[in-house]
């Protein structure tokens, strides 16, 4: 292990810059941690892998944490994972406890991040070791499992989620059936005229950025881009922060951190699910559940601990299976691809330096996030006031740079931004579920390879059921997640009645 390479002034500085940038992106409503990573990803060309990861992980941690600022001060979540922070954070601001709420949120974020880093460090190598034994069939089933999980936890019906995921998979298949994967190099799913352009299919990053950033901007434009009223923020006043708030909240902290990590672990499921789940659990276990929602620190703690818990959790499947834990980690895949490193069960064993660097960056970023936000909160809070009519064009420009540079200068990737931005916007009207679609898109190519290779190797469909015990376990998990979602669906329907 070459520590001298890992802990250099450059990586530490990049980590810090990443956290600062992340907090800013996270704090501005409408800009997410995912966007931050997507926009900065092209910049990592010039860096080596350790430095790239330091920057990106810093952005990730900062981005998720930054969301609490507008959530608490303006009742607007900075990122989807901070939605539940508004429930108790904003009432606290109204009561004059805004600064206290911010600091509680920051400390909670630190705890969540550290808990998940610990679990990541212990669990990921174990999972990787186990996953090495997977053959094509098990790999195929794991991806199917991931897709059913996303479909079930997504909002709306599970069938809708599966349909969206399937559309995503189909879209990912557009292009050439590459011979490097045993294909015949024919193009498919495109008309003759478009062959020269679509030969390489759609690139992930423009699709990702387009569907999140441009779609949001078009939706906002449709609604008329109403600016939020500025409120006088007097951050000097208010109750002082005391650590004693955390006394009696230890269980809350650990439970929320674990929930966040576990939700992050589930492939494809991200921010808002973690915080919602954690908040509901906090309410179930609270000594005074009716007070939640009126400005109880408990609520802020539950929400913020879990959404930072997500960071470590989402890295677990990414690193050990090569399957992203959420859309933000999906962007991280891009960073590894840029540097030519393959994520999967062999990753940790073959790249111990990179693995340790990631862990180190994660822990370091959490501490930097804490110090920066805790002591400089006043400056970060000002960021939320950038007006949308300036912000949105800037976002479009940043996205354009990212999309163009991702393949060293392909204009079609920029157009992809617009195509998918429009596609997701129209799709949303028909209740298309974007997160499911995205994961389908990311995993579609692999799904095909594993499926076809399984069939080519064994020659029969029944092999998917008879290959190994692990395959059975996976089938059980798949069925469980389908059943679970049907139960959730029924519960929701009865609630609606």
């Amino acid at each position: 292990m070459d520590f001298a390479n890992i802990i250099t002034p450059a990586t530490l500085m990049l980590s810090t810059l990443g956290v600062i940038g992340g907090i800013i992106f996270g704090a501005i409503p409408g800009m997410t941690a995912t966007m931050a990573l997507a926009v900065f990803l092209p910049l990592t060309y010039a860096l080596n892998l350790y430095q790239a990861l330091a920057l990106l992980i810093g952005l990730y941690v900062g981005g998720i944490s930054g969301g609490l600022i507008p959530a608490i001060l303006l009742n607007i979540p900075g990122t989807p994972s901070s939605i539940t922070t508004t429930f108790d954070g904003y009432p606290m601001t109204r009561k004059g406890k805004g600064v206290q709420a911010l600091k509680i949120g920051i400390v909670s974020s630190l705890f969540g991040g550290l808990i998940s880093a610990l679990i990541l460090a212990i669990f990921a190598p174990v999972l990787a070791d186990w996953a090495i034994r997977f053959s094509y069939i098990e790999k195929f089933l794991i991806i199917v499992f991931a897709l059913t999980v996303i479909a079930s936890i997504s909002q709306g019906s599970m069938l809708g989620g599966l349909l969206s995921g399937s559309i995503g998979i189909l879209l990912s298949l557009v292009g050439t059936y590459g011979s490097t994967y045993g294909g015949n190099d024919h193009t498919r799913l495109m008309p003759e005229i478009l062959k020269p352009i679509l030969r390489n299919g759609f690139s992930l990053l423009p699709v990702l950025i387009g569907m999140f950033a441009l779609t949001a901007i078009f939706s906002e434009a449709e609604k008329g881009v109403k600016e939020e009223p500025h409120q006088k923020l007097d951050l000097a006043k208010g109750e002082k922060f005391k650590m004693s708030v955390f006394r009696g909240q230890i269980i809350n902290v650990f439970r929320s951190g674990l929930i966040g990590t576990f939700v992050g672990l589930l492939p494809g499921v991200g921010g808002s699910a973690a915080s919602v789940l954690s908040y509901t659990q906090a309410r179930n276990f609270s000594k005074h559940p009716d007070k939640l929602g009126t400005g109880e620190p408990e609520g802020v703690i539950a929400s913020e601990t879990s959404n930072n818990g997500l960071t470590g959790g989402a890295l677990i499947p990414l690193v050990s299976l090569g399957i992203p834990g959420d859309s933000t980690t999906a962007v991280l895949i891009g960073a590894f691809t840029l540097q030519g490193v393959q994520l999967g069960p062999l990753f940790i064993n073959q790249n111990p330096g990179t693995w340790n660097s990631m862990l180190g960056s994660l822990i370091f970023s959490n501490f930097i996030m804490f110090f920066l936000m805790f002591f400089a909160i006043k400056y970060f809070a000002k960021v939320i006031f950038v007006p949308k009519f300036i912000l949105y064009p800037i976002i479009v420009i940043m996205c354009t740079v990212g999309a163009y540079a991702i393949n060293y200068g392909v204009m079609f990737d920029v157009w992809t931004l617009l195509i998918f931005g429009l596609f997701a916007w129209v799709g949303g009207k028909f209740k298309l579920q974007i997160p499911s679609l995205l994961i389908g898109f990311i995993l579609g190519g692999q799904l095909e390879i594993y499926f076809v290779k399984s069939l080519e190797s064994f020659g029969t469909f029944t092999i998917f059921f008879t290959k190994s015990k692990i395959a059975w376990v996976l089938w059980v998990l798949i069925i469980l997640s389908v059943v679970w979602s049907i139960i959730l669906d029924r519960r929701q329907k009865s609630r609606e009645k």
Binding site: S157, L170, H186, G459, F461
Partner: protein, 149 residues
Amino acid sequence: MSEDNGLFSINIDFATSHLFFPRIMIWIIIFLAVIIGAKELIKKLRDGSLKESLKGFRFFEENYDRLKLFGSIIFVAVYFFLMDFIGRFFPNEGLGFLIASILFMFAMSFLLVGKGNFRKHRISILISSLVTPLAAWILFAKVFFITLP
């Protein structure tokens, strides 16, 4: 591995293998769409709200802002086109990006801020339209050596 020549055996023809999985996916999509459609249809028929739903389907939000919405889409498209077009005159210098970005940012901010508010914010719009693309251009093209159109 022994090949089952039973009911479930399958042989994938190499020449058409590029269509194998896509075809499966297309069928799955059709299947799911039909089921979802049927479920919705049955539910609406039972509720008696079928006619209502068909009439009441609104694609656009209520009172949607036509100007801002279509303007945004068109401006973005024009921006991309201009960036490429101008860039061809100065290949790989990033000037296409710079010029188009300044124009885009100005136009877009103007569009989004609304006609009434423009006077109030015209200075900040002007400044940011010039400064931000310039800063981005310097940072990306000059410091990080990223090729821009």
